[in-house]
Amino acid sequence: MSVAPPLLAVEGLTKSYGGIHAVRGVSFSLRAGEILALIGPNGAGKSTCFDMLNGQNKPDSGHVRLLGEETTGKKPREIWRMGVGRTFQITATFATMTVRENVQVALISHGKQLFNLFGSAPNFDRSEAGRLLELVGMGGYADRPCGELAYGDLKRLELAVALANEPKLLLMDEPTAGMAPRERVDLMRLTAQIAREKSIGVLFTEHDMDVVFEHADRIIVLNRGTLIAEGSPAEVRSNPQVQAVYLGEGLLYEAGHREGAST
């Protein structure tokens, strides 16, 4: 009897730049409806890893499978069509369009109307655009130019755009970077709620440990390109290796150095 493939299965993902191994043999999987946090110190390879999942970067070796289907070597736009939404660390939105139009463009793409030359875009799926904006709490901003939004609002808009193709998987690269503490908690609560309701798998990277430990079902930890820990928040929190990475090995080294000096 075959077991249904997991939503996302990553196997032996590897990427190096010149002599530097940015990501080495990373494997993990993600179930539908699960919220998985990818953490690690700066330079651990999180962003490289992320870009490979989304198709922006090609792995040297390894596989990424979405519901059993290989996505390595596919372009970001093809992976999006397979049901993967993405938000960026630094927001990427259409600055000269209104908030509603930003969502409408994603809906137009999802509805395969990109080469419709004579339809009316301002009226394109207005209700769905409105619904998505309401969902992220941006309903009142629909007619505002995107270029004059506050950063936190742009992040919420990105979430609405990412949800436009009814994704099975959401990839969020530092979803709360650059936001006020209060906003961070709200945005992640919202994301978690949507993900559970619609059974969307969420993979996110994050530096804010409060956000990570409050919302992640499971955490994987990267350090220098390799996976060093995986487990529930409690397990990861008590993992000595993770503590060493986060508190810094330099401190341990210095302590040892002093001991050596005193003898």
Partner: protein
């Protein structure tokens, strides 16, 4: 065999000047991020001043001294231009920088005629290099050998300058990250000025060194700038070694192309450029460009369709325009038809440039192709006018499909340079392939049929087509496709992440714009009764850019207003002065510096201020172009 060797050496000698100019352009771009369109103009002034000086100063020292002195003098002019004009526009969108330096080029073209007259000037031979060397029965001018040596020597000097001096280190650092260099306390102003001076010096030296080989004339700027653009696109903008290799490559292709396709030698260069672009879009020695500065434009004003009142007003304006034949004479009607045709041309460029963010500097190519399409169909195939009008623009469509495919692989200034080069190639074909296109004599006798022959009937035809085209393109701006196109303009990263194939969208837009321009060209052929290579020349491309800019590049309806105002002004100006290029160039510079929003943009801003009445809303909406300091 000896013949081919000589041909090869001639190619190498031509490469020297090309390399000097191209390296100057590359250095300036590397640091200031400005593609200096006026580089060809500096090359030309260098040649003219060197001509005058060599006539005055005698002897070997006089000649060589004059060459260097001329280059220094032009460098000084360059410094002035940089301080007075460029410093004001370093932070403007790149389109504005290209246009301002192009305006400068236009002004220089008229100024040199004013000072040196319109005739070709033949300069002196270089002392010590007057003779020729016999090579197996073929003559090689000894001056050519001098130039062949000079190219690598200049490359070496530049290399030393950049690797071994403090200034060179700063320039290389600024090329990588100029903001960081500024943050480290380097006086950016003087760094930029000195770099510009060096670049202009190289261009002028290239021009001055040409006088023993070629006559000096007032159109040499455009010829060299197109070749230089081709060189930097092939070699990679910002790379001096790339400029050298590509200059040699292009010169050799020209030298041997004449042997293979004597009529249309430029085809060979085009083919090589196309291959390079497919394999390495950033050039042989260039690096992939980091994401450009985020300057979607001057405002963040979202677009909206016309309200029903505005629609009624537009309709009323159209009806009034349609009554013109009731009271105007034939001359006014011909002018009216021409304006209507230029409205078509302007809105087609607007679609590509404002909606798609792709500023084409060679849009006239598709206008002209439409015109030639008509000439071929009507004169050679003898088809009826209606059929011609429907099929003629297809030539523009095909041209846009071929060139657009390559052009959309690039963006920003590369896109501008490439479209210009393509347009110039089409122009050369029309000019050189005399047996098909009639060359400079054009194709005459393309007259409309009886039903459209009278000025009033033709005016109604042109007006009707212009209104139709404007409406159709406007519908497209607010169609799902138009939204997707604007999305690709605003953020390529995001469009890709929501499943949009940006290149295909942009290519489609290019074809739509090219076809529409072809419709304008088709009507233009019937209006004038003839077709000439000028119908696809650079000055026409620039007319289109200025029309869009004058109306307001960030508005939806600016192109229409811009075309009407500009064309009317232009026709009036040409009847008033011989120095129309000088006035036009000055006008362009003026718009860019003090009036960057254009007519419709200004009106919109005023309307918005009045609506808000309280102090202007968002600072973003009212932000003028910042000056460099």
């Amino acid at each position: 065999m000896a013949f081919y060797v000589v041909q090869f050496l001639t190619g190498l000698a031509s490469a020297a000047s090309l390399f000097l100019v191209a390296s100057g352009l590359s250095i300036i771009f590397g640091v200031t991020r400005i593609v200096n369109f006026a580089h060809g103009a500096f090359y030309m002034i260098g040649a003219y001043i060197a001509f005058t000086l060599t006539e005055r100063l005698s002897g070997a020292f006089g000649f060589w001294g004059s060459i260097v002195l001329a280059a220094l003098a032009v460098a000084l002019i360059g410094v002035l231009v940089e301080m007075v004009l460029l410093r004001r526009i370093y932070h403007a969108p790149e389109l504005f920088q290209l246009l301002a330096t192009f305006g400068l080029t236009l002004m220089v073209e008229d100024l040199v005629v004013l000072v040196w007259g319109p005739d070709d000037l033949v300069g002196r031979r270089a002392p010590g290099f007057k003779g020729a060397i016999d090579f197996f029965g073929q003559n090689i001018p000894s001056y050519d050998l001098f130039l062949i040596v000079l190219g690598p020597v200049v490359l070496g000097i530049l290399w030393l300058l950049f690797q071994r001096t403090r200034w060179g280190v700063l320039v290389r650092a600024a090329t990588q990250d100029r903001d960081m260099v500024a943050a480290l306390g380097v006086n950016q102003k003087w760094l930029f000025t000195s770099v510009f001076a060096v670049g202009v010096f190289l261009a002028a030296l290239g021009g001055a060194l040409q006088i023993p080989r070629d006559a000096v004339h007032h159109a040499m700027d455009l010829r060299i700038i197109v070749e230089v653009f081709v060189v930097v696109v092939i070699g990679g903008l910002g790379s001096i070694v790339g400029a050298f290799v590509a200059a040699v490559l292009v010169s050799e292709l020209n030298a041997f192309g004449i042997l293979i396709f004597p009529k249309i030698s430029i085809i060979l260069v085009f083919l090589v450029m196309a291959v390079v672009l497919i394999v390495r879009p950033w050039g042989l020695f260039g690096k992939p460009e980091a994401a450009a500065r985020k300057t979607p434009g001057l405002t963040v004003n979202p677009w909206r369709p016309l309200t029903s009142n505005e629609r009624l007003a537009s309709l009323a304006a159209l009806v009034i325009a349609a009554t013109l034949p009731l009271f105007a004479g034939n001359y006014a009607l011909t002018v009216g038809s021409e304006i209507a045709i230029f409205v078509i041309f302007a809105v087609s460029l607007h679609f590509l440039m404002s909606v798609g963010g792709l500023a084409s500097f060679g849009h006239a190519a598709y206008f002209g192709l439409g015109a030639y399409g008509i000439a071929f169909l009507a004169k050679m195939a003898g088809l009826p006018m209606i059929v011609c009008l429907l099929l003629g623009p297809l030539l523009g469509c095909m041209g846009a499909a071929v060139f657009g495919f390559f052009a959309v692989q690039l963006s920003g200034v590369y896109f501008a340079m490439l479209t210009l080069a393509f347009a110039q190639i089409v122009w050369s074909i029309a000019f050189q392939w005399v047996s098909v296109t009639g060359g400079d004599n054009g194709i005459l006798g393309v007259w409309p049929e009886k039903w459209a022959a009278s000025p009033s009937h033709f005016y109604w035809l042109a007006l009707g087509v212009a209104a139709l085209v404007t409406i159709v393109l406007r519908v497209m701006v607010f169609s799902p496709f138009g939204y997707a196109l604007r999305a690709t303009r605003d953020s390529l990263l995001r469009t890709e992440a929501i499943g949009i194939n940006a290149k295909r969208i942009q290519w489609t837009a290019f074809v739509i714009a090219g076809t529409t321009a072809g419709i304008g060209g088709a009507l233009f052929a019937y209006l004038k009764g003839s077709v000439f290579p000028d119908n696809l020349g650079i000055s026409l491309s620039v007319d289109a850019l200025v029309m869009v800019l004058l109306g307001g590049v960030e508005t939806v309806s600016g192109a229409v207003i811009g075309a009407i105002v500009y064309k009317a002004l232009n026709i009036w100006l040409v009847s008033q002065t011989d120095l129309s290029k000088l006035v036009l160039g000055g006008f362009i510079v003026l718009i860019v510096v003090v009036f960057p929003k254009g007519i419709v943009g200004m009106l919109e801003m005023l309307a918005q201020r009045r609506r808000k009445s309280s102090p202007p809303g968002s600072p973003l909406l009212a932000k003028p172009i910042e000056s460099a300091e």
